[in-house]
Amino acid sequence: MKHGISAIAHVYGERRIDNVADGAQHGFDEAFVRGKLGITTRYAASAGQATSDLAIEAARALLAQTGTRPDEVEALVVVTQTPDYQLPHTAALVQRALGLPTRLASFDMSLGCSGFVYGLSTLVSLMAHADMKRALLITADCYSKVSDPSDRATAPLFSDAAAATLLTDTPLYRPGKPLFGTDGAGAETLIVKCGGSRAPADRSTLYMDGRAIYSFALSKIPQHVEQCLALNGLRLEDVDRFVFHQANRFMLESLRDRMKLPAEKVVIDVADGGNTVGSTIPIALEPLLAERHRTIVICGFGVGLSWATNILQLSDT
């Protein structure tokens, strides 16, 4: 694979939330919020902020940071399940706001916590197919717009955020062979049952069966990661860092313990920001890019149920 990741930037929603104080209002003590969830600060979009606003802000930061001109971008994928509108696609709104060229290939992908890994594979394949040099992969969601702030199952976990990833033909990290998974039998374990064609006028909010999601992750993901590594001719010991979807500290420590992974190799980056859905992996990857680890595993899992794993390898050039 020629194409891969060159740089990442991210932004959070404008409203900062002290999760310890907020958790107390839901009956969670400080030890539980800090120690178990591991999330001390969350962020929510302001009333005037929508998903595209976060996506645009993250992309602007990325373009400025990398010195990339808007007219150099040839493709854009926005991974979101909380788009600004049912139609048009959010990527079109981002294209307009950033002044990206009208020859741009752009589309949205409806995926949540597995979305970055899916989006990366999709976009690098498109870039190779169409002989492109630069593309943007944006993950962006505003769960605060579709959730009930009084719901104890979801309130202390999620943040609104966007991450923009620059993909190029001269990358810092190249993806390996991906491995995917889907099980719609678990569709109702994480769901917003309104706004679509089945119940367009309903006003229900985000529902999450935390136990079902935990069981799914612990039973599926360890074997999936090992299968992906085998597909790439690698073993667990060959990996320098594991970047799982940053659901919460408890989930990450459970996966780490079950897979018997060294603590220093498993990234836990939830204290400031918590669960940002599809953006957790690029947000956790961003500081790692400068550390130049040779082999990194990325693994997303969640709503769908959907899961995806890949490896990232440091480019030699």
Partner: protein
């Protein structure tokens, strides 16, 4: 399945949930409630129930946990002993 063996296995699974529970014996967990007596929080309970399901090869639906009061370990031991393969 022998109920005594079931208590031994449940005690061993509790050891996996939290270091604080390492010293609990099969005898010590008799008559105990997971949250009220042993201090498990909601996430510990999720982890523990998954371990029980995997270890005993039984599926424990949410509604059964409430209806059969399975957070009481005596009830849980009887429940899995009756259903385990």
């Amino acid at each position: 399945m022998e109920l005594t063996t079931t208590y031994d296995r449940i005690a061993a699974l509790l050891h996996e949930v939290d270091d604080k529970l390492q010293k609990l014996s099969a005898e010590a967990i008799r008559g105990k409630h997971l949250t009220q007596d042993l201090g498990l929080d909601s996430l510990d309970v999720i982890k523990f129930v998954l371990l029980v399901e995997e270890s005993f090869g039984v599926k424990i639906p949410d509604e059964e946990i409430d209806a059969k009061e399975l957070l009481k370990l005596d009830n849980l031991a009887a429940y899995v002993a009756a259903r385990a393969a």
